[in-house]
Symmetry: C2
Subunit: 353 residues, 2 copies
């Protein structure tokens, strides 16, 4: 919380009202589903409701707990109004709804000026400390292990939903608190849907199967994609697979502290262009990962964010050819001074099952 307070003068604020729950958890440890954290120079207050009385008492560090009886926004804005000295309060334009903003303005009164927080907490969260990296290594290890666990379940007669259920069960067996997003299992033509939900269709005798999965450990997410093949690979499929693997290697090689995020994306795109597949790569190369499965920075076209040591990002080029299918290979890496280190350890060779 002190690192955040150090930013107050640069933001021109006397206090920050934090509404996005992963930010609340990051700053004070509270993991409930209703919380507003008011960070002030002297002290901080977590506003939550009566469902979380005991949980907040157990979890919250560095803030006093206020159990709100008539809504968190009302309690927080009244607390702000009572302290006349807070004339400028930062808040997130991204996470506050128009209705919440209106209620805050009405509740806190006209002497309070609401200032954009410039994603201050998200920027702090992007760089992980050693304790966070240890947990994220664990989350990556869990999902790498899960992939090995479920390989034998990937059979023609299994449905996409059944394989997804096996993956999510294995996540919990290995100690994850759950999947970090709805597991994707997409077989055959559906593998060309970059974000397909699993269906009740069997995987079928032959074809590509995209498996995109992640585990949560103590709040932190992993995110890994592997693509396997049922049947024997045609030259066309081998070419697709190798091209995506090469693009991933190129992107990883481009990563180091000081590089622009957009340059990493460009490296993946250039590699796929050399393979004649650039037009089938329809999303960005990766994204930050932590308490949320998508967070700062984004590794997309033209992004000017400079990568810093300790950032954790996914590297996940993919190609999607309607009719033929899709290939995506995704690892989690931590940015280091002169390169990056893989958190994900699952095998990356083309498996013909």
């Amino acid at each position: 919380m002190d690192r955040l307070r150090n930013l107050f003068s640069a933001l021109g604020v006397d206090a920050l009202l934090v509404s996005h729950l992963p930010n609340v958890q990051y700053l004070c440890g509270f993991s409930g589903s209703a919380g507003l954290l008011l960070v002030e120079t002297g002290a901080s207050t977590l506003f939550t409701d009566s469902r979380y009385t005991f949980q907040a008492a157990e979890e919250v560090v560095g803030a006093r707990v206020h159990i709100a009886k008539h809504g968190l926004i009302r309690a927080a804005s009244e607390a702000i109004r009572k302290k006349g000295r807070h004339r400028k309060v930062g808040y997130s334009l991204t996470y506050a709804s128009v209705a919440q903003h209106n209620a805050l303005q009405a509740g806190a009164g006209k002497h309070v000026r609401w200032m954009p927080d410039n994603d201050a907490v998200e920027k702090l969260r992007a760089v992980k400390d050693a304790g966070e990296l240890a947990i994220m290594q664990e989350a990556a290890d869990v999902i790498s292990g899960v992939f090995a666990d479920v390989l034998q379940k990937i059979r023609p007669e299994a449905t996409e939903l059944e394989v997804a259920a096996e993956i999510e069960h294995a996540i919990k067996r290995r100690g994850g608190s759950g999947p970090s997003f709805e597991t994707i299992v997409a077989a055959g033509p559906r593998s060309a849907w970059a974000h397909a939900r699993p269906s009740g269709n069997p995987l079928g005798k032959s074809g590509l199967v995209v498996l995109d999965q992640g585990a949560i450990i103590r709040g932190y997410c992993s995110d890994m994609t592997r693509t396997v093949l049922l049947g024997r690979a045609s030259n066309e499929v081998r070419h697709l697979y190798q091209a995506v693997l090469d693009a991933q290697q190129s992107a990883k090689k481009a990563i180091h502290a000081g590089v622009k995020a957009g340059d990493v994306d460009a490296a993946a795109r250039k590699s796929l262009k050399q393979a004649g597949l650039a037009q089938y790569f329809t999303h960005s190369t990766g994204h930050g990962l932590g308490l949320e499965v998508h967070e700062m920075p984004r590794l997309g076209r033209g992004e000017t964010t400079v990568l810093q040591e300790g950032m954790v990002v996914t590297v996940e080029p993919g190609v999607y050819v309607q009719g033929l299918g899709g290939v995506r290979i995704e690892d989690d890496v931590v940015v280091t001074a002169d390169g990056c280190a893989d958190l994900t350890t699952a095998r990356r060779d083309l498996l013909e099952l």
Copy 2:
């Protein structure tokens, strides 16, 4: 979509921009994670991105699909700007962030007036048609079956996380696409946390275990809580359990088309007051259920919403006594002309395991 268009004149709008994803899915069938639906009097347009090209083509009914290259907000606001005739566009103050509102205003230009949508789509969604009720009965049946499946796994040495994993696996085995929220398994003193996340702690030899779980079937949620006991019940625990069951019955008896939501909540509270336990009932009696696990109406203190035939709500009184533990019993019911009908069928008697 026509029922929505019929509301345009009452809302004083020429078009509605729908951003909340369950509303988008309800209106046009699209289930992807990035979508904005512009509903106009003549036609409608779904804005999504290139990851969803194939999925949108397959799923969307009643709208043309626009694949946005530079963000959905930009594409939608440009489309609005180009049609000078839309001078008043409705949008959700609840779901639009301040940043999105600013971007919409800038993109659409000053001749467009942005109007509150008064939760028009949420209100339509609250009343389910026969097709939706059939799916919701299926979702309730799945979770009732899951409870029977996992009863034998509720043993002193099992951890909360293991039981949660069993529940979520059973949901998928029974054909659910997943849990409708993070399954709650809270044993012993933790059962007094109304919304505890499962921990790695074993359930222990004796004590109450609260299990709160739901399944998703074709997008629709069920939500059910049962409380079981490890060991033999003391008189105190029997009294708690019976009081909550009585309160649930009282609330169900209060439900019929035409009653105020707050009167249902009052019925549960009155019943618990007679048992001397009102102060331990720290949340509201229930909530609407459908494409979201919490939707309109809310069965809370003083709520003036009038229940209508076809609404689906949870009825879930609970008491939480620090040290002793918690009891919550939750069913899903559909409001009928003269009462309500249970969707949930799992047994409700106190099980001593």
